[in-house]
Structures are given as C-alpha cells and as structure tokens.
Amino acid sequence: MRMNKHSRLHLPSPPARPGEAPDFSYVHLSPAGAVRRPDVNARARDVESLSRDLVRVLDDAGDAVGPWHPHLDPAELQIGLRHMLLTRLFDDRMQRNQRAGKISFYIRSLGEEAVSVAQCMALRPGDMLFPSYRNQGLQIARGIALVDLMCQLLSNTRDMCKGRQLPVMYHSKAGNIFSISGNLATQFPQAVGWAMAAAIKGEDHLAASWIGEGSSAEADFHQALLFASVYQAPAILNVVNNQWAISTFQGYAGGEQRSFAARGPGYGIAGVRVDGNDFLAVYAVTQWAAERARTGAGPTLIELVTYRGAAHSTSDDPARYRAKDDAEHWPLGDPIQRLKTHLIRIGEWSEARHQALSAELEALVAASWKEAIAFGTMSEGPRLNPDLMFEDVFKEMPQNLQRQQALMRQERK
C-alpha cells in the first residue's frame, strides 16, 4: 500500500502492476475434494464456510475427487468441452474480425468459458438466464445459432436487435435468455423479480443471473440479494470474480477484505465460492443451488473464482495496468485444458479427437460467418432500414415519432 505520509486512507492495490512479477498468493485455495457438500436443504447460516472455502473437484492431475463430484456422463462432459471450445474459437474469430474493422466492438470471455457453459448445462431450458456481456458461453450452450450472434455483432439485416444495440448485447426470447444491458448489474435484481414471479405463479423455474465482481459494487447487487432473501426467491446469483474490472483490481469492489460469496450469508443467503475454471465444480455447485431453489430452500450466491484472460474489450489494453504474463500464472489454470485433461485421464478423450473437434468447430465458425455477412456488414451488402429506429420505442408508434420518421426520410433524400 502506497500512501502520502499524511493520509491514512487505505487504498487497495493489486499485487502486480506492469513490470512486476505476477503474484496470486492472495487467492485463498482449498485442495480439490476438501470442501464438504451440505444437504441441499441446509439453512444458509449452516453453510457459511462454503463462502470462505473454494469448492474444487478436479485435482492437479485431472482426477475428479470429493463430495462435489457431479458424476456426469462422459458424453455430457464432451458436450461441455465442445461448448467451451466453440465459445473460445468464436471469440478468437470475432476478435480478429474486430481488429480487421469488420465489427465495431467485441468482448471476449477467454479463460472464463467454464462459468457460462457449466452453469447453463446444470440448469433447465425453462430456467431464465440474465447474463452480463461476458457470458457468451450461455448463448452457445443454450444452442443459439452462431450466425444469429454474428448478425447481432454486425448490426445487419438479420440482427436480432434490429441495429439498436452495441455488439454482444444479445437476447433470445425463445432461448430464455434476457436482453443484455450496457448498464452494469441492472439485470441482477430483475432476475430476482423474475424468480419471484415464478414463485407467485407456483412454477418451479428459476432465474439465474451473472455480474462481474466489479459490478457487484453497484446498488443493484444489494437490491438483488435483499429481495432474494426477503422473499426467498428461486434465484441463483452469480458473481464472476475474474479479478479485474477494466483496470480496477477486485480489491476495489471489496474483495480485499472478504470473498464475494461471503456477502450471501450476511443477507441470510447461502454463499458458495467455487473454482470457476473447474467445469465439474461449477456444474456441481450450480446443480446444488438449482435444487435449493426448486425445493424452496431459497436463493444462492455463487462466486466463481476465475481470471480475465484477455483485455476487457477491444477498446482496452491491459498492458497499461497489469503484469503482462499474469494470466499464465493464474493458479486455477485454463478451464478447457483442465476438462480436456480430465476426459483424457478417464479415457474419454484424446489429443486426436481434440484436434478434430477444433477443426470442426473452426469450420463451423467460418461457415457461420460466411452466412452472417450475407445479411450485410458494416460496409457492404444489405443494410437495416433506418425506419426501424422509430419502432419499439412504444408498442405502437406515437404521432410524434411518425412525424420524426417522415422527417428522417426527407433528410436522407
């Protein structure tokens, strides 16, 4: 901690700035398999240690151990691996497309793929997802077509948002994925409201939402926890602690003093801290939380401990504020590599199959892109009709917007 000789204000500092050696000794780890798995109906106050420990299933050798082992079918694991790999390859390609000026903006989820993919797979299709902008794995695991995502990124004639949103702000009514907001954290209490409605209607769907650890500083984080606690809403509230919020270290969101999962017990909500790069652990914890929600045992706050492997977005350059090789020193490794190792170890995967899968998925991404650009790009091909700008402000276009639409048309002549 650096401070002026007079000031006694405490100022959190990340362990390593550019030029310094990465240091992740601050991350509290539990050995794989070491954390107990309480009954799904346990009271929040009786599972407090889960908010301090770190639930892990995959050990360093790639074996799945301990009470949280979800014992998934190898086929399921292979699907998980596929979704994660597809997410990463999709990200890579879109990043390159942005660099090539083909889309205006992009956000990768490099290193965080297990969060979205494992969580989505542990939920049911009728469960409603309220994502942040770094949850593309949810879209992929829910089966949204790549070409639909790409058309959104291109704001082209097949853009689900009709040109109204920045790239990556997807939604899917049919897929039960809520519209992503550019305003951080707003979706967190909305998800709780959705869950309250499910409970009021007597349905057993749940709502799950995701925010970054940095966004947990917003007021809406508190509103979500509070309403979830008061009404015991069937909601899973996920804080993705990837250690950074643009240039700001997680200590500035309160992570220096306490885990983010620990906020849960403060509100009487079960809080679980999980290895976010461990597909099996993430799956198991989400399943546990989902069962709690469905059986009336209340909401769960899950902190997914992971690392933002890439820049914040295509507008960002992390070399300005963090050690360059930080990600390589991250103690929880890479989620894809870890699941792959596990699958190989249990004899359900091989390097060759992995190569083949990679090639297949790269081809899928490439083919999808080709299909997408046929609906228009930023510079070429068909373009959305600007008339659309005036629709959906209200259900029916009011007089003043009709008039403005007409004026706009005139301007363009």
């Binding site: 939604h171 907001s181 707003t186 959705w194 009021i200 209607k201 309403f227």
Partner: protein, 338 residues
Amino acid sequence: MANMNMIQALNSAMDIMLGKDPSVVLMGEDIGYFGGVFRATEGLQRKYGEHRVLDTPIAEGGIVATAIGMSVNGLRPVAEIQFADYIYPGFDQIVSELARLRYRSAGEFFAPVTIRTPCGGGIRGGQTHSQSPEGIFTHVSGLKVVMPSNPYDAKGLLITCIEDDDPVVFFEPKRLYNGPFDGDPNKPAVPWSSHPKGQVDEGYYKIPLGKADIVRAGSAVTIVTYGTMVYVAAAAAAAMNIDAEIIDLRSLVPLDTDTICTSVKKTGRCIVAHEATRFSGFGAELLSIVQEECFWNLEAPIQRVTGWDTPYPHAFEWEYFPGQARVKAALNSVMESA
C-alpha cells in the same frame, strides 16, 4: 355510479384489475397489510392475498427492478412509490431498463409495469413530500406519463395503464385525493362528493391515453394544464371573467397535441400551467409545441405559470405554490398583449 374520492377511485381500479386479470400484482412500501400511507390499496391484500398485494422492502430501486423482472415473467405489476420525491433511487432502473427494454430487444421483451406515485404540494409536506418531477420522465423515450385530476379519470386512466403493454409512470396529485382544490388554502375543503367527476362508475371502464379533456370550452384563451392546476386555473379565469378554454392533458406522454393546437388556433392566446418548477419543466415542452405549431395564430406570447425554481419550501408553501394570483398575472399579460 358511486361517490368516490380519488383514493377510492384508484382503489376501485386496482380492485377490478386484480379481480379480472390474475397476472396483476400490486407492490410497494406499506401497501399490503396496512393499505398504503394514503390508503389507496386498503383492503386489497385481504381480498386477493399476500402474494398478489406485496409489501416490499424500503428500496425503490429494488421495487422497480423486481417489477421489471416480474413483468418479463408474465405478470403485470403495479408498483407504488410512496412519494414521487422518493422515486429517484429507482431512476436508473426506470430510465435505463424499464423505458428501453422493448427497444433494445427489438420488441421481444417488454415490461408492462405501472408505477403509481403521489406528487405535488399543498399539503405542508416540505421539500421531500411535495415534488412534481413529471417533466423529467417526459424526456425519457419509451415511458408513458400520466396525471389524472379527478376520481373518474383516475380510475379509467389507471385501468388503461395497467392494461397497457408499455411502462407508465402514473402521477397522482395528492392534494386532489380528497377533493378539488382551487389554490386557496383558506377556503373550506370541498369534497369530491360535490363534484361531478366524483361520480364514478363502479365497474370496469377505460380512458384512453393521449386524449386530453377540454374541461371548459372557451374562446378567449387556451389554458393547457394538468393535475391540481386544472382547478386553480379554472378558478382564476372564472374570477377574472375570462372565457378560457381549459385543457386537462391527463396524459403527458403520449401528448394530445391536436387538441392543444386546435384550441390555440381558435383562441390565439395560451398559457401553460403546472406546479413543477419552471426551468426545463414540462411547460417548456408545451410552450414549444404551441409556438412551433401555432406561431402564426398567436396574438400574444405564451405564458408559463409554474412553481418557482427552488426546492419546495415548507414554511412558504403558499408563496411558492402557483396559486390564482400567478395564473391571473399570466392571464392579464396574455390578454393585454396586443
């Protein structure tokens, strides 16, 4: 038909909608068991159950946010914000989310939420129980903004808003809850029972949004107003014996520009009146529209009658409130101009 004050009329609207549509839920601070600090929801929790009429934490931001989530899951929440002065903790959710959800999702998601909130002064409530922030909300694309001035309209408009698939902020001029008020605090209070608009149909009926009400036809000057000022303006014009056409907007967004402009084109003179502060208040938009649409018909500059540009001061309520004197000064000016 029954005699109802505005609270009873609002209660009746919610009662009918709770009965008619199982997706309607009410939520807010103290609205459940207690029936609301102004008693607008009295008896409704007992009648429809705790899961239809929800008490909430004291958290306007959480109320709006969860209402949005509930509406996306098929419910039709009617959220009460206890005083309009306390709506700001929910402002981000209203502006960034409620108003924009349909737009940003290209119509796939929408949030049919109605936010009811008492507004306005004249009740010795000081700066945090007297505000009229409606103008701010009219600047937010995607929100409808409504303010009734009497029990009959209040009920019909509220039913319309609840059934509307767009989000609405529904302002209730609290000084009118118990009776019309002409701006003179020294006169004995007049109850709604002695006013025709206090006669309210007990059943289901709607009043469309975007249709202003010409509460008095006239030819000398057009007074465009809403809420409490409808009565203040009418009293002032009557006292001056001016044949004013008085337009009660009822809905600010959508706005009934046609009714306003038709009237001003006829009268050639116009004042706009509201309780809210003047600078950048909704009156500025009204004045602007009239100026743009009726410029060549105007025989005098349009005048605004408003609250002063200060917070609402507890001890100076009647010096602050835009009472008849202020309306008269504006009428004088607009009528004298040649």
